[in-house]
């Protein structure tokens, strides 16, 4: 536990439901899916999954001048729009953002994959860089989102960019919590982003872990369902403003929740296969840091992406850690697996659950898989007393992360 208590004071989102937290929350509470068929991916030889949950086309020209956009791929544009929404909700002044006491931690799997494609299409035929624009590198670098958001908001504190695929945003929130807890920063704009691109879906398709339910794009992915057949990748960006409790109180900012614990465990047994012991260890570490007994966890927002192995391993891990049928759901059925953005977009949905005192169901969970037994799989919107909740995210490469949020600062 850090020296300082850490709270959340702002949220911003660009998701498969469009720009804004409101669009994301409405889409989820209306039980809609952001998934669609990606017809033009059929041209790619060997690719067997043509499904994704992309961000609808947005025109960022009004909000982001050309001088900012020139160094941004889509993911950085989305991160900048989400970050701006988050600092507006937090009521953070330009002076505070520029004070050096506010930092940026925004991760993604890589830089913009579309920009990579554009570059290599231009470069490879004749190995020529004569048409390379100056903004190219700033769009593909791994800290593209963090750097561009810092520039767009005038942030002058620390800049970090955790690049760990599906745990990028969870790590970003965890790192923001550590930076504030240790007193290095008063506030951190943190989250993650990723783009829908065929080379991203390809990663899962090669591993036979991408959904092929092409006849029913609006019924996949299906976390915890016995008919689940893999991941559907999504795009977007989620951003949270984390702040020390002292700072939030001194500004009179509205506190959305407190972060009580962050667990992160490296599973070194396999580069790709999920392992329930490492998942459980991450959750236990977060609970120990939070000083919360298993009886104190009211709900778990699962990582559950709709893969055969991952969902059952997570269900077993949650069951082992919490030790009773705790309510669990996954957001992936609504927005797909938004990869580097997942930890933050799903945390925003979780914050809304805390606010409404309602648990959202896992979409498409028609037939709970007996392999995912031992937890209380939520299948419709359920009123519940939610005080302390856990958020899981896991990544290829053996990263297992868990965060614990509490509804209000006591």
């Amino acid at each position: 536990m850090g020296l300082k208590r850490v709270v959340i004071t702002g949220r911003g989102a660009v998701s498969p439901f469009g720009a804004g937290v409101k669009a994301l929350v409405e889409g989820v509470w209306q039980g809609r899916s952001g998934v669609r068929l990606m017809e033009d991916w059929r041209r790619i030889r060997g690719l067997k999954s043509y499904l994704a949950a992309p961000v609808p086309d947005l025109d960022p020209r009004e909000e982001l001048p050309r001088s900012l956009r020139r160094t941004m791929g889509d993911m950085a544009v989305h991160a900048a729009l989400a970050a701006r929404e988050a600092v507006v909700e937090a009521g953070m002044s330009d002076e505070m953002l520029a004070s050096g006491r506010v930092g940026t931690v925004i991760g993604s799997t890589t830089g913009s994959p579309q920009t990579y494609e554009d570059f290599y299409r231009m470069f490879l035929p004749e190995e020529s860089i004569e048409e390379v624009k100056s903004g190219f590198f700033f769009r593909i670098m791994s800290h593209s989102c963090a750097a561009n958001v810092s520039l767009a908001l005038g942030i002058r504190g620390e800049q970090w960019a955790p690049a760990s695929a599906c745990t990028s945003a969870a790590q970003a929130i965890g790192l923001g919590y550590l930076l504030i807890g240790s007193g290095r920063q008063d506030a951190v704009v943190c989250g993650g982003a990723d783009e829908v691109h065929h080379t991203v879906t390809m990663v899962f398709d090669v591993l036979k872990a991408a959904s092929r339910r092409h006849t029913e794009p609006l019924a996949t992915p299906r976390p915890f369902d016995r008919e689940r057949d893999g991941v559907v990748c999504g795009g977007g960006s989620g951003v949270l403003v984390l702040e020390s409790l002292d700072s939030a109180r001194s500004r009179g900012a509205e506190i959305l929740a407190e972060i009580l614990g962050f667990g992160q465990v490296c599973d070194s047994s396999h580069i790709a296969n999920p392992h329930q012991d490492a998942m459980a260890a991450a959750m236990r570490n977060a609970m120990t840091e939070a000083g919360i007994e298993s009886t104190g966890i009211d709900y778990v927002n699962a990582h559950a992406t709709g893969t055969l192995q991952g969902d059952s391993a997570e269900a077993a891990a949650i069951g082992a850690v919490v030790g009773r049928p705790v309510p669990v759901s996954s957001c992936k059925g609504h927005i797909g697996h938004t990869l580097g953005a997942a930890g933050a977009l799903e945390s925003i949905i979780l914050l809304e659950m805390l606010r409404r005192q309602e648990i959202i169901p896992t979409l498409h969970l028609d037939h709970p898989d007996p392999e995912c037994a031992g937890i209380d799989l939520v299948r419709e919107i359920r009123p519940a007393r939610l005080e302390t909740v856990m958020k899981n995210n896991f990544a290829l490469g053996g990263v297992n992360a868990a965060l614990i949020f509490q509804r209000r600062s006591k």
């Binding site: 020209r61 050309r66 001088s67 020139r70 160094t71 004569e130 048409e131 390379v132 624009k133 100056s134 903004g135």
Partner: protein, 84 residues
């Protein structure tokens, strides 16, 4: 020396499209950096865009660096086009 109208139009088009500038601001005496707000990254992109638009190479880096105003730019393009 007056600049060929066709060339002038094409250069101004590159400036308005590439940098989203208001055509009314592109008076001959306007400086690219101070008046139009371009910077060193834009200078790189300007060369790429002009090379593409005119199918030539702006190989004289010294001459490119010496460009200050819209008029300087028009004259550089005309000189390069005529091979002078």
């Amino acid at each position: 020396m007056t600049v060929d109208e066709g060339i002038r139009q094409q250069v101004l088009e590159v400036l308005t499209e590439e940098f989203e500038l208001d055509p009314d601001r592109l008076i001959p005496s306007a400086t690219l950096y101070d008046d139009l707000g371009l910077d060193s990254l834009d200078a790189v992109d300007l060369v790429v865009a002009l090379e593409k638009a005119f199918s030539f190479k702006l190989t004289d880096e010294e001459a490119v660096r010496a460009v200050r105003t819209v008029d300087d730019l028009l004259r550089l393009v005309e000189r390069t086009r005529s091979g002078a």
